[in-house]
């Protein structure tokens, strides 16, 4: 049996404002195994981002338990590169914060950047890079601290369609090659189907897992190839019905 990296057991979370109390999640149970790419889809406003904040340990559940074996790296909708730092300084940011800013780790992070085509841009500022390259730099920054699980919060939704397809393939390729575990949150069904090994469908608020599917693409990991395959539309239709049914 594979090692579990992340596990939610019967998690409930309530939000408090002066006016009311909102249940964001109730009886939420699922797990992510090592090396797995799990996508979570749900109706809008079902608390998808909340789920990632819980996984990252930024929120504490009202009840239930969350166990995470290892560190996490967060990737957001926008690249959130710091404009006053060079690409290299941006990539080294998690090392500075985690006090693991050793020469060895810096060299590893730099090597990663070079490996994935950012070598020429290390001393450039984010404003000099295209949207796709910026998102790639954001991914390398996330990988620099060698997290055990990547938490991806709709990381492609801010890009235009053409760039999105390319960057999705690009990011997926990097994550697969580095053998990383990933939890992707998205509202885009086709993105989930083209990327994940397993898809969880959430109910509307309070969120819990309504359906769970192992995708049968076999060895086809490339999102662009998956989009061309026969199963793609089958899965798309099924998930569409489950989301809207």
């Amino acid at each position: 049996m594979k090692k579990q990296i992340l596990r939610f057991s019967d998690v409930t979370l309530a939000y408090h404002t002066v006016r009311e109390e909102t249940l964001a999640a109730q009886h939420l149970t699922f797990s992510v195994d090592e090396g797995e790419f799990v996508a979570v889809i749900g109706p809008s406003g079902c608390g998808k981002t909340t789920l990632l904040s819980l996984a990252a340990g930024l929120l504490t559940p009202s009840s239930g338990r969350i166990t995470r074996n290892g560190s996490c790296g967060y990737m957001l909708q926008k690249d959130e590169l710091f404009p006053w730092r060079t690409i290299e300084k941006n990539i080294l940011l998690p090392l500075e914060i985690k006090h693991s800013n050793t020469a060895e780790n810096r060299e590893k992070a730099r090597a990663l950047a070079v490996k994935y085509g950012l070598g020429d841009f290390l001393s450039a500022y984010p404003s000099q890079l295209s949207g796709g390259m910026r998102q790639r730099a954001a991914l390398i920054r996330t990988l620099a601290s060698e997290p055990d699980i990547l938490l991806l919060d709709e990381p492609f939704s801010a890009l235009d369609y053409q760039t999105r397809l390319n960057v999705t393939a690009d990011v997926s390729d990097i994550i697969r090659r580095e053998g990383k575990t990933a939890l992707l949150i998205t509202h885009d069904i086709s993105e989930a189907v083209s990327l994940a090994d397993r898809v969880l469908v959430l109910t509307k608020r309070p969120a819990r897992v309504a359906y769970e599917h192992d995708l049968d693409f076999g060895d086809v990991k490339n999102p662009l190839k998956r989009r061309e395959s026969a199963q793609f539309s089958k899965w798309f239709e099924l998930l569409w019905k489950e989301l809207n049914g």
Partner: protein, 272 residues
């Protein structure tokens, strides 16, 4: 990626660059021409006797006043006095204002407690405190310095606090997800991302510092440009009033220019 080191330009691009340069030259020529025209008209209508230079002064009389102030050695004494009060007040107001804003950013409770006080202090016309300041600090430079700080500090606090609070929520989330504590967030995100606001606060405070120091000199002083203006007004020496005002214009513009220079040095890479 933008290529900034383009080597060859097309004919069209060269024409565009020439047009831009031509436009800049026209603007500068007109700017200087307008100043020369205004000064020339001023000189002319007083020389022709259309207006009484006793009431309006004139560029040549301002120049003569400047020369006599220089000759009796008081020109740089007055300039120095006001400049010192303004710069010291500016520096103290900026430093204290920035520090208080940091404290208020750090503690939400402190912010809530002090908010009404800051609002009231901001709305209060500082000149109303004139008599108190004279009694507490006497009639020397100290009183003027206090007035300058008072006028500048509230603006500095409010400006910087709103900049600190406006720190990008997603970048904060990112920092926290990396395990950053509040000190690290402050040092690596909040302070660097508020740098453009810091510069705009300096620009606002250049004006505030001059308001403070001149207002202070109106109330208590025995030296300085504000003193020359008040004194000149009282004894009806409009030449003196105009001369001191002209020097003030030049000094204030110079100080603003220094801040702009600082901005060019510090603020290079932003997303917008």
């Amino acid at each position: 990626m933008k290529n900034k080191s383009e080597k060859t330009y097309s004919e069209e691009h060269l024409r565009y660059l020439r047009a831009r340069r031509y436009h800049a030259i026209v603007v500068w020529t007109l700017r200087i021409g307008l100043l020369a025209l205004l000064l020339g008209m001023w000189e002319l209508i007083t020389a022709l006797g259309w207006v009484d230079p006793f009431l309006t002064s004139s560029p040549s009389r301002i120049f003569a006043t400047l020369k006599s102030l220089y000759n009796d050695g008081s020109l740089f004494y007055h300039i120095g006095t006001t400049l010192w009060e303004t710069l010291a007040g500016f520096a103290i107001a900026v430093f204290l204002g920035y520090s208080v804003a940091l404290l208020l950013w750090w503690s939400e409770t402190l912010r809530a407690v002090l908010e009404p006080y800051i609002v009231v202090l901001n709305a209060l016309p500082k000149i109303a405190l004139g008599p108190l300041i004279i009694i507490w600090f006497g009639t020397g430079s100290k009183a003027i310095l206090f007035m300058t700080v008072l006028v500048g500090i509230i603006v500095a606090i409010m400006h910087m606090l709103s900049a600190f609070i406006a720190t990008d929520k997603n970048k904060l989330l990112l920092m926290r997800s990396m395990g950053a504590n509040k000190w690290t967030i402050l040092a690596k995100l909040v302070i660097p991302s508020s740098l453009p606001s810091f510069i705009s606060m300096l620009k606002v405070n250049v004006g505030m510092a001059w308001i403070g120091s001149i207002m202070g000199e109106y109330i208590v002083s025995r030296a300085g440009l504000g003193y020359l203006i008040v004194y000149g007004g009282q004894v009806f020496k409009l030449d003196l009033v105009m001369t001191a005002t002209a020097i003030l214009c030049i000094l204030a513009a110079g100080m603003y220019f220094l801040v702009v220079l600082l901005e060019k040095l510090l603020v290079k890479n932003t997303d917008d």
